[in-house]
Amino acid sequence: MEFLYNLFNYGLLAYAVIMLGSYIFLGTLAIAEANNYLKKSKLTDYTLLASSPYAPSVSILAPAYNEGANIIENVRSLLNIYYNHLELIVINDGSKDDSMAKLIEAYQLEPVQVAYNPKLKTKNVKAVYKSTNPVFHKLVVIDKDNGGKADALNTGINLASHQYLVCIDVDCILEQDALLKLLKPFMDESEKKVIATGGVVRIANSCLFENGKLVEVNLPKQLLPRVQPLEYIRAFLLGRMAWSRLNGLLLISGAFGAFDRKIAIEAGGYDQSTVGEDMELVVRMRRYMAERKLPYKVTFIPDPLCWTEAPATYKILARQRNRWMRGTIETLKMHRKLFFNPKYGLLGILSYPYWFFFEFLAPVIEFTGLVIFVILAISGLINWPYFLALTAFIFIFGWLFSIFAILMEVATFNQYKKKGEVGKLIITALIEPFIFHPFIVWSSIRGIVDFLRKRNSWGEMTRQGFGAPAAKTQAKE
């Protein structure tokens, strides 16, 4: 009994130390990588990619569900991306509103017959539309029965005829050169095959947009959306940059990522049984390459390229985090073969275990700890001064890490240039552990519970729209 108790103690201590250590390690790697990228980027003229006949050919896939209010604007914004070998495939996933009618009218669409070999199974495609106006010749619209995001994307993959796929959320606003920067990594390797590239998703709340383009960056005014840039900076700039350098990146944001079409199809396309389809596909594509012993790479671009709205209310945030946790668990479960499996190299030895222990288990351990704490506190077993000191240390370390992330952000892309914004960001970092983090842990636990109960809904994400008061809903089933 004593032995178990000690093991448990030591184990948890080791866990904490490893976790803190890995944060420091990742942080350092991330700086090096981001620095490298920035230097290289300054020396690069990306416009060549927009026009060279040997630049990657791209199919942008934009699944849409009940986006009616803004769909015309969003499509127009995407069509105005300057890139030569481009087709824009908008997939109307059985919207219940008038999205389809609006599109047909605005873009002078008419149904066409397209002969293609659908390699992935999807729900029924009702019709494929192209524009009669040569100005919109890059646009293809697929009208299909509702099947969820993964299904919509797969339909797009089937129809796409170009080398690379760029999957985006249709209401994501892209920077002018977003596509160019996202695609360059595919051209940069000579030894390994780049199978996927991820981009940074930035928080659009309170930013000004006009004509579908970002005009002014502002730190979100509301409290809840304000914490999220901090989170994203930590996750993207520090986390993913580091993993990219190690070539151990497991997750590419569903809002903005590029994939090699052939590999995506051979790996089986998006899986509809999980709500974390973006992460799951990347893991599966990595497995595909690793199993065939083909040298490959998954890269990550830290440039702020894509802007999207973050949840502004606790309710919606809860749903989002709940879904993220369920997605993580589902992916981890589906690929449990990777766990500490040397056959998969870094993917199995480092990436998967890290995700398992520090992304999945972390909220569990924290929550359990809290429960135990409460029990022990009631039983009067707590050494208060020591406990408070330890808590203080952990909080301060957390603040250190957040401030470090903010420093990274200022040193690299410095998006929040207005007076006082960085200061506000720092203050947000200070109050985060009190108003935000516990809530996230709670949502994650709910996610685990829901997973165990096998609830399978995407939940609803009500967006505030980019400045518009109208709300949009997006449901899976």
């Binding site: 927009a50 300057y82 004509n211 005009v215």
Partner: protein, 120 residues
Amino acid sequence: MKILIAEDEPITLATMQFRLKKDGHEVITANNGQEALELLKVHSPQLVITDIMMPFASGLEVLAFVKKQPKPIPVIVLSAMGQEKVVVEAFTLGADDYITKPFSPNELALRVKRFTLRVS
């Protein structure tokens, strides 16, 4: 002739402005696509010269906007890309002329002159 030039590189923009002013034209300048669109709503130039790759709204947006107007005016597109397909694309979208960078300011002035003759 009243001309609107949209170009994000300030000195290149100033060069074009100066050169065309020398020829007697009235020149309004915009530093990016967004500004160009706003100026277009206020002024009524008789010719638009726009770079394609600019921050905020791209030159293509400007081109599309101009061509949608009830009385469309000629648009000269400036671009660093000279491949055939790209040029064809620009013309498909309605451009009236296409100049590749690096370009000569004198050549630009000459092309503009062609449109002056057309207008008068």
